[in-house]
């Protein structure tokens, strides 16, 4: 995995000149997969991709839907850590990572978070708008939300979803109390988690006429999906306005993440709120009828490609997200790579994302 090491060692996480290295690392990964995973080889053969020579562009790599990974357990070598996607309907995918993948992921996380100014030595207080890790919950969302609380030293951590005997329940009151306390202290506060809960918290604060002026450097970090907001028509502008009004946090201190267990690449929004594609991955948007790649600017299924992992064949996966890839050359942030906009998801079948699961719990809360 020489090429992977080289790729994930790139100094600039948004270096646009590395496409050849990227393709090389993908082919290297493909060669490992077809020799270490019979199921992957069957699929590759079925799709007519018999060897790395059949791959001339990243889009030629056999695409595996996350839907299939939830129904079929793929393995392609020894692993150290296993992550489980959030599967509320009884289907979850198990993604295994070997040591080399973890090292690559670590290098990537450090470079990306440093680039975006999230990695900091200044101690802060965390409010996690998600699950408190509990042995009954192995989902990656719980783990990643928890892990992000290490991006700067933590003075304290508070979780909005508490595990009770009846499952996970939101506990807004204790958050409000905590905010009262934190407002008077010096250390910045960092929110992390689902946009839906964060938005909900804003609304509660607004309704109760509460507003806080949190210490300078406080941030809101969002991951886990904006999707339901498109349906509820609560757009991002409203979100930013409420953040300012209720917590005193400016728009530039709202950082969004995008990622999936099946594609553990850290997409971090730039100050213009764009998810630029980093050097570690490629995104192909595919036609919703034919799955053929389509040009930038059109909506389709989101195919995510990265040679990060060997122990599970997640080289090229298709999510059930619908998105648009935009040309990034004119973005004011200076990064030239294209950026991804998530528009929503495919119509519901029986699969729910973790964000949808959160929305379900919320319905039980009366405001």
């Amino acid at each position: 995995m020489k090429l992977r090491r080289k790729l994930f060692g790139s100094k600039d996480p948004y270096d646009c000149t590395k496409s050849e290295l990227f393709l090389g690392a993908c082919k290297e990964n493909f060669n490992h997969l077809i020799t270490h995973c019979d199921d992957y080889k069957k699929i590759a053969d079925g799709l007519g991709v018999h060897s790395a020579d059949d791959i001339s562009k990243p889009e030629d790599i056999p695409v595996i839907p996350t839907l299939l990974m939830k129904q079929h357990d793929f393995r392609s070598g020894r692993y150290m850590v296993m992550a489980t996607s959030s599967g509320t309907s009884g289907h979850a995918s198990h993604i295994r990572f070997e040591f080399g993948a973890l090292i690559a992921a670590l290098k990537m996380s450090l470079r990306v978070t440093r680039y975006h100014g999230i990695l900091s030595m200044r101690p802060c207080r965390y409010i996690v708008m998600g699950y408190k890790p509990h042995r009954s919950n192995k989902t990656a969302v719980a783990k990643t939300a928890y892990l992000t609380t290490f991006l700067a030293p933590a003075i304290s951590r508070k979780f909005i979803l508490k595990h009770t005997s009846e499952g996970y329940k939101p506990d807004f009151d204790s958050i409000v109390n905590a905010l009262r306390k934190y407002e008077k202290k010096k250390a910045p506060v960092r929110f992390m988690g689902f946009p839906s809960y964060t938005f909900f918290l804003f609304r509660i604060l607004e309704e109760r006429g509460l507003s806080f002026q949190l210490p300078k450097g406080s941030k809101i970090m969002l991951g886990g999906g904006w999707k339901q907001f498109y349906r509820e028509a609560a757009d991002k502008e409203t979100f930013y306005k409420l953040a300012k009004k209720t917590l005193g946090i400016e728009e530039e201190n709202i950082v969004e993440f995008y990622g999936a267990v099946e594609h553990p690449i850290l997409y971090t929004a730039c100050p213009a709120h764009h998810f630029h594609v980093p050097v570690y991955s490629n995104i192909v948007i595919r036609d919703p009828d034919t799955l053929e790649p389509i040009e930038n600017g059109r909506t389709g299924l989101v195919n995510l490609i990265s040679p990060l992992c060997k122990a599970t064949p997640i080289l090229s996966v298709m999510t059930d997200d619908l998105g648009i890839l935009h040309d990034g050359t004119t973005c004011p942030c200076g990064v030239k790579s294209p950026y991804l906009e998530i528009i929503g998801r495919v119509a519901p079948d029986d699969i729910k994302t973790c964000a949808a699961g959160a929305a379900d719990i919320l319905q039980g809360v009366k405001v």
Partner: protein
């Protein structure tokens, strides 16, 4: 959400409500029988309000053309006239009568009465099916416990609540639960309260219900069926092009999701080349139909594309020989097969094409006897009667044009029986 006695409750109250229902049922059974006229009146009011656009906001999740066609169908099917006709067709004589005197025997009074309590386990593949199944139970005067399918989007409950609003006396006869299919205890309790279980679903669903229902409860099964279209001597068929376009449209509009939908197209031949020639000419038609009937909604299109692609990959994973004989088009595929087995296609406009020489029809039908329902037939006029006879003798319930495989024919039965007569029993009283 639970609907009980005309009021809604949280799902968590299921246990308490079922215990209460056990006490209520004998009280309701002791009352006068529910008149079908009350039900017809409520349904007709629903029709009038539907026509007036009162429920348009509930239909916004359907593509416009589909919502329009639902409204058009509702105009006829929910009308007083149609419902009266349905009662007459399905139940025959409902007036009680006394048998003719026969020497040496006493006379009896004969009448049809409701079974008592019906437990409906509805399927989620057809919009409005839960409400429809419930309405049939009401028309026959039964108390109805309805388990909504997990895929239900709340529409069924809204329609049912509307019926109660029109005729509040219906509330005694309607109990709707959103029990999960995995809640075996809950479903067993519901079955134990009932005289009959009416179950729509796959073989697996029916097997599960047979397992949980107490001995003695009548099980009314509306099982999964497999439709096919039989094509013979295409070159001699009058307006063959129109027939094939009709079949393509049927496949594209039902997406092969219904029991009556075409899963397999059988060609009356043994020649593999003939199969391929047919498939090559049918592919562009199917592609065109799929394209014309594609929903505008990108989310639905993407989901369907993604699930057919996933199924395709799963086939590669299986140990079976990978079928090389697949013709792919935009959003559609035709899978050529050498055997004649009637089986479920991958659906979503992915159709199986198989050879079936006439001489083998009966054998294939016998092998699939549990799953037969609808056969579309495209053949020369002079062969139609003979082939139809072979099909119906072999176990088919409906023989239609290729285009009309999933059409609703007023007066039709379902899976060979009239639903309403299955929901009633006949009683004899000595004079």
């Amino acid at each position: 959400m639970i609907l009980f006695d005309g009021k809604t409750y949280e799902s968590s109250e299921q246990d308490r409500l079922l215990t209460e229902l056990e006490k209520k049922i004998p009280e309701i059974l002791a009352k006068d029988q529910l008149s079908p006229e009350v039900v017809i009146d409520a349904v007709d009011k629903l029709r009038i309000d539907t026509m007036a656009g009162k429920f348009d906001h509930l239909l916004t999740e359907f593509p416009k053309d589909i919502a329009d066609s639902y409204k058009e169908q509702a105009a006829t099917l929910l009308s007083r006239e149609h419902l009266h006709k349905k009662l007459e067709t399905e139940l025959g004589v409902t007036e009680e009568y006394v048998t003719d005197p026969l020497k040496g025997f006493a006379q009896i009074r004969v009448k049809k009465v409701p079974l008592g309590v019906l437990f409906h386990i509805s399927a989620g593949n057809m919009d409005f099916l839960p409400a429809y199944s419930l309405a049939e139970g009401l028309l026959t005067g039964n108390i109805n416990i309805l388990k909504l399918p997990s895929a239900d989007n709340g529409l069924s409950l809204k329609l049912i609540m509307q019926l109660i609003e029109y005729r509040p006396e219906l509330k005694d006869y309607i109990y709707v639960f959103d029990t999960a299919s995995t809640d075996i205890q809950g479903m067993r309790k519901m079955a134990e309260l009932s005289n009959a279980v009416s179950v729509w679903g796959s073989d697996m669903a029916i097997e599960a219900v047979r397992g949980l229902a107490p001995t003695g409860v009548k099980i009314i099964e509306w099982g999964q069926k497999l439709g096919f279209c039989y094509i013979s001597k295409l070159s001699e068929v009058e307006d063959a092009e129109g027939e094939l376009d009709g079949l393509a449209k049927h496949i594209a509009t039902t997406k092969q999701l219904l029991c009556s939908s075409c899963q397999v197209i059988y060609i009356d031949t043994e020649d593999e080349n003939e199969l391929r020639t047919f498939a090559e000419s049918f592919l562009p038609r199917l592609e065109k139909a799929a394209n014309e009937n594609a929903t505008e909604e990108i989310g639905i299109r993407a989901r369907d594309t993604l699930s057919s692609y996933t199924r395709r990959l799963k086939a590669y994973l299986g140990n079976e020989e990978v079928n090389e004989n697949v013709l792919r088009g935009r959003g559609v595929s035709l899978i050529l097969s050498k055997d004649s087995e009637l089986e479920l296609s991958p659906m979503m406009c992915n159709v199986l094409i198989k050879p079936l020489p006439r001489a083998n029809i009966s054998k294939v039908l016998y092998q699939s006897r549990y799953h037969l329902q609808t056969a579309g037939l495209i053949c020369p006029k002079e062969d139609r009667a003979g082939l139809t006879e072979t099909f119906t003798r072999g176990g088919l319930i409906r023989v239609t044009k290729g285009a009309d495989m999933s059409a609703y024919f007023p007066g039709e039965c379902h899976d060979g029986e009239y639903a309403l007569s299955r929901y009633m029993r006949i009683v004899n009283v000595e004079e």
